[in-house]
């Protein structure tokens, strides 16, 4: 069973990692713990639902890819969700966080992010209702791999997409001027400013990247399980654990952190009762903060 738990852990870890990238960047560049980040996953998943519903209503694009449970609509839904969630994040930034940053300190923004989380979560409840929703009602059956490990084809796609996203982000951060400016701002906002970097722009890019990652994670999560208003809320601790574990601001750190969190959660049930599983990310947070506060990939400040 250890192989099965490991496979499960890697797959759920990939989603946590994707979602944690934005959180990690926010912690580093915006310098506050954004408790509403997980709600962006929820919104991303529901934006994807809107797109798929509309596409289906208009006749759809037909067919599915090989063993996967979906076809083109889902791919386009990923793009649509990323754009829509980015706009939502920019709106929140403009209406709330940017204004707060001007008048108060970053810890006040943590308070605000809790309020925003409550608003976003209940808005989903109001608009879409509490009932869980599935992108597709067809049940996908697991494929048996060597070693008696069962995985869903969709989850393999998910893992592949995560790798693609990470490579794309890597290229963005090392090749584009905006990406380099973003890393510079992460290290020292003041030095970036006097070098001529428009930090406000960088901050907007952080929201866009964070929201897009969250949206993709949300849609993929919705794909492998189901959509409900608490989708993101249930992931708060794993996301923070991944971001802190990897080191705030680190792309690979966030993804690796996500994998570690996913693996630990899934493997933990072999030694502790399943009902204590939600505490596992917290224990990881404590351990990493105690032994290596800057995270695995973080720079010592």
């Amino acid at each position: 069973m250890i192989l099965q738990h490991t496979a499960d852990g890697i797959l759920s870890g990939a989603i946590i990692g994707l979602g944690a990238i934005g959180l990690s960047f926010t912690m580093k560049i915006l310098r506050f713990a954004n408790f509403s980040h997980s709600e962006l996953l929820t919104w991303g998943a529901y934006f994807g639902l809107i797109f798929i519903s509309v596409a289906t209503a208009m006749g759809g694009f037909g067919g599915t890819f090989g063993p996967l449970s979906f076809g083109w609509p889902l791919i386009l839904a990923l793009v649509f969700a990323a754009v829509a969630t980015s706009l939502l994040a920019l709106l929140l930034h403009h209406l709330i966080f940017e204004r707060l940053a001007k008048v108060t300190g970053h810890m006040t923004m943590v308070f605000a992010s809790f309020g925003v989380a409550l608003l976003l979560r209940n808005a989903v409840l109001l608009i879409f209702g509490a009932d869980p929703i599935y992108y597709s009602n067809t049940l996908q059956f697991a494929v048996k791999l060597p070693g008696n490990v069962r995985v869903l084809p969709d989850q393999v796609f998910l893992l592949g997409l995560t790798i693609v996203v990470v490579i794309a982000l890597h290229l963005f951060l090392t090749r584009s001027r905006t990406g380099i400016a973003m890393r510079a701002t992460a290290e020292s906002p003041d030095l970036a400013r006097v070098s001529g970097v428009n930090v406000n722009n960088v901050v907007r890019w952080v929201w866009v990247i964070g929201a897009s990652g969250a949206a993709v994670a949300g849609v993929l999560y919705g794909l492998t399980v189901q959509l409900r208003p608490e989708l993101g809320f249930a992931l708060i601790l794993p996301l923070f654990a991944a971001a802190i574990l990897g080191g705030a601001g680190s792309l690979y750190g966030a993804v690796l952190g996500g994998l570690i969190v996913g693996l630990s959660e899934n493997l933990s049930v072999m030694i502790i009762p399943t009902t204590y599983k939600p505490a596992v990310p917290f224990l990881l947070i404590l351990a990493i903060l105690y032994f290596r506060p800057q995270g695995l990939f973080g720079e010592k400040s």
Binding site: T174, I180, A186, E187, S188, R193, G196
Partner: protein, 243 residues
């Protein structure tokens, strides 16, 4: 002679209710190295940051090339020809040397920035050799050079240096001062804060002495070297400040 920078009656601080500067006025002309000295806590760094747009100016004006630029955001000042090299953390240690320079050219168009970077690499072969390495591997002196090179990328007319020789060996410091003199020879204006008052005065044209957030003395640098009052102002400060 062209007046590059005029700061008059600057009141500024990190918190609106606790100003550090109480109406400081300085000016720098083209081709001039101007040094600000004074005891710890005099507000020297705050003044330079206020001019660079990093500290909010609550009263007074900052004029650059005759234009009022008070309250302009730092990144726009960079595009307007003001360069600032802070005392600590003056390079991005997590970025490669080439990336540091790319950030330095953020205010320029992309092609222009890349052309300037090539020029800089020709000018400083040491940087070119290590272009793909992270800046954290550089020595103190090398970092200072990278920091200045980064600042020079936009061909600034006003260069603000916060303690450029801090932590450098005497030889490296001398090299750096040579570099600074070279900059003004090309028509830039340099405003520099220095702890090492004696050495700084020796290579400066003019100097201001600040204490407790106010102007105390100013004049031609060589005159100030002999001024007794300076010693009194520095009294109570660490002895090496007047060394």
């Amino acid at each position: 002679m062209t007046r590059r920078l005029t700061a008059s009656g600057i009141v500024a601080g990190y918190r609106p209710d606790l100003p550090i500067l109480h109406g400081v006025s300085v000016h720098v002309d083209a081709g001039e190295v101007m040094t600000i000295i004074g005891p710890n806590g005099a507000g020297k760094s705050t003044l330079i940051k206020a001019i660079a747009g990093l500290v909010t100016v609550s009263a007074g004006t900052v004029e650059i090339d005759g234009e009022d630029r008070t309250g302009t955001p730092a990144h726009l000042l960079a595009g307007a020809g003001v360069a600032y090299v802070p005392q600590t953390g003056n390079v991005f240690t997590t970025l490669t040397i080439r990336e540091n320079l790319i950030v330095g050219g953020a205010a320029l168009a992309k092609a222009e920035a890349l052309a300037r970077i090539d020029e800089i690499f020709t000018q400083y072969p040491m940087l070119a050799a290590k272009r793909a390495e992270k800046a954290r591997v550089l020595s103190g002196g090398e970092r200072q050079i990278l920091a200045i090179a980064r600042a020079l990328l936009t061909s600034p007319r006003i260069i603000l240096l916060d303690e450029p020789t801090a932590g450098l060996s005497p030889m490296a410091a001398a090299e750096l001062f040579d570099l600074v003199r070279g900059l003004v020879a090309d028509g830039a204006a340099v405003l520099m804060v220095e702890q090492n008052a004696k050495a700084a005065l020796k290579m400066s044209d003019r100097a201001y002495v600040l204490a407790e957030g106010e102007n105390r003395i100013d004049g031609v640098a060589s005159d100030l070297l002999e001024n007794d009052e300076i010693g009194r102002i520095f009294l109570g400060a660490r002895p090496e400040d007047v060394a």
